[in-house]
Subunit: 409 residues, 2 copies
């Protein structure tokens, strides 16, 4: 058996460093919210980098950017995304896109082109400042008008973003690909958690992606003077929201081990020192590995929210804004990833993903697999997000080995 191919580790690093300069923040991370200037610049960089290496490029009706090697009716996709959360890090998404490009470079360089096209793809709006998995859902034909009507980031932001990117809302549906034309999907991503680092493993073989739901909770109380309104007569919307946030923490710890719930944002109105908040808007997200657990957790969270609202005579309005079902990944893809790691002498660990990824959209229409590499300190969605250059190269090499096996025969 021939020695496994490797990607150009130095080139991979140089390209990741170049990309990290686009939308760089003073804190050392990046801010590439979907369709913002930095995001559009990063996507332009991707196309130019691919063209410079002699690859064909393509932008579909959902704004997904692709670089393509080889021909044929079917394509094996390798991807991730170049958008980020506000104040994000340099590896989330970017590593998978740049590694996909370098896999194509390595295959082209070795003259090892498989019988299907290889396509490195940068999906639109994975991280959800607008919708979340927008591009991959569109490609998988799973985008619904319900989601577009009430997107996570607000309808106005979505429409403004599409216009900035030169896209049309109706056109998004045209990005759907016939599943018969898809040969498979692989994604390299940082773990974004502490599991691999703790276990001393270099490669994570992702067996499934947990499900997640997002709700927006609006508490309506009564704005009033903070000096003249006795404590017992207040209808403080901010306190109802705060008490709910605190209750989620103990509820999950007590009754839902392994699940997570997060209050990521909370806005009080009018928001002055001397006015009791009349209104509080809270962003809630929770995740679990099984749909039944998600159902039970949602029910328990909403019981908490109603209890804290009633205790303060505050009205509660609940708006679902996102729903991602738990998704098992392809067993054959998992095996191929594990074998690729083994051939490279890397220690691999099978694990679920607590984070959502484009792979979960693709899993509905083709065999999909994911490779994780360790996150230092488990930190991500933060400027200090870090994966060693060595681990980045290991991940890209595993991606290369797995795609050659899966797309090759």
């Amino acid at each position: 058996m021939a020695a496994p191919l490797h990607v150009d580790a130095a080139g991979l690093r140089a390209d990741l460093e170049a990309l990290a300069r686009i939308g760089a923040t003073p804190a050392g991370g990046i801010d590439r919210s979907s369709f913002g200037d930095a995001h559009l610049a990063a996507r332009a960089w991707f196309l130019a980098r691919a063209q410079r290496a002699g690859l064909r490029t393509r932008v579909d009706a959902a704004g997904n950017h692709s670089a393509i090697l080889g021909g044929g009716k079917r394509a094996f996709l390798l991807g991730s995304h170049l958008d980020s959360v506000p104040g994000g890090g340099n590896f989330d998404g970017a590593l998978g896109v740049v590694a996909a490009l370098h896999v194509l470079f390595a295959v082209a360089g070795a003259g090892a082109a498989p019988p299907v096209a290889l396509e490195a793809i940068d999906f639109t709006d994975e991280d959800g400042t607008l919708v979340g998995l927008l591009g991959s859902w569109a490609l998988a034909g799973a985008l619904t008008s319900d989601v577009l009507r009430a997107p996570r980031g607000g309808r106005e932001a979505l429409l403004a973003g599409l216009e900035r990117a030169g896209l049309r809302e109706q056109g998004l549906y045209d990005a759907r690909r016939d599943p018969a034309q898809l040969a498979g999907y692989l994604e390299l991503h940082i773990e974004q958690g502490p599991v691999l680092e703790r276990a001393g493993a270099q490669i994570g073989v992702v067996t499934s992606i947990v499900g997640s739901r997002s709700l927006r909770l609006r508490f309506h109380g009564e704005a009033n003077h903070a000096g003249t309104t006795p404590m017992g007569e207040r209808r403080d919307a901010g306190l109802a929201a705060a008490a709910f946030a605190v209750a989620t923490e103990s509820l999950v710890a007590r009754e839902f081990p392994g699940a997570v719930a997060t209050v990521g944002d909370l806005r009080l109105e009018p928001g002055a020192f001397n006015v009791i908040p009349g209104r509080a808007v809270l962003s809630l997200e929770f995740r679990a590995a099984e749909a039944a657990t998600l159902d039970r957790l949602e029910h328990a969270l909403l019981v908490c929210a109603r209890r804290e609202a009633e205790a303060r005579r505050v009205d509660l309005e609940i708006e679902p804004v996102g729903r991602w079902e738990p998704t098992p990944l392809d067993a054959g893809a998992c095996d191929a990833i594990e074998r690729a790691a083994e051939r490279l002498g890397l220690r691999a660990l099978r694990m679920p993903s607590g984070a959502g990824h484009d792979a979960q959209a693709l899993a509905g229409v083709t065999r999909a697999g994911m490779v994780f590499v360790p996150s230092v300190g488990g930190i991500s969605h933060d400027p200090r997000e870090l994966t060693s250059w060595e681990d980045c190269a290991h991940g890209a090499d595993v991606l290369l080995g797995a795609v050659l096996e899966l797309a090759g025969g």
Copy 2:
């Protein structure tokens, strides 16, 4: 004894209605943040209204706007303010300024001018979107550079506001008046609480103004991925802040009856569904009638804040942004207000003020008194803030009777 003078109740109402149109919000209240367009327009309306009635006008170096009747070296001041909290109501401040004007109109009309000048004054920035009591502190000579360096609304907003109003920071100190030139101060204001309405009283005689302190609390945790970071490994700054807010509620109820504490604002960063908040900035205000109680309350609150921060391995930074000492008002002024109400056949009630007012700045340099009128439902700092036109006129009549007694002899 002659029948007591009355203000022109219909004219008072018409002027209050005219003023309510300046900065009107769709919700039926007003938004006249200090030095914003609507605030500057309201102040221009005040000067024009006074000049149309033949009064002299004056704007001092702190932007305080005055209308003056009569001459002499000494002036008896009647005032309040035309700025508002964001999303405020139509009576807070405006009633006192318009009533002061109508007292001058009534005195002028009756040819009853007392031996000192009567000055209706609209103080700058009472409600604290910038500093709080800025104009009255300046006039009383109590403004300090400490306060201006770290104002409640932020240093940048203060400098921008001063520039919009054509004022200079150094000039603010020049607004100081020699106490020997002040004959006294009276202020009519809505109660902003439920006490008078509950007691069936028409007039509140304010015996003291409670003290208040404002602090900005910054919780520094660790932003991280909301899906991949187990609950037990988070350093969630938002939860620390929320737990503190909830703890203030029970602390005050349990150990500080009569005092109040309010978390009026809370901002989480970065503020996304799928990111654990790394930073939370909280606006805290608390009030009590005695300085010793304020000290004990502040200590107890900060113990709570440190406890909740430590429980979540979050760092805490505490910034004092405002401090108003409890202020007793003048006993002679209280008696004069009570007698004026009695002559008009109105039921008066002695009470402390839970809200801060310009009177507390003036009390340091001259005999100061305050008249309260009922707030329907105790609601204020809200578009639904309401005082009946009849109660407005009663308050203005009491103001008129009291100033004639206090300034007359």
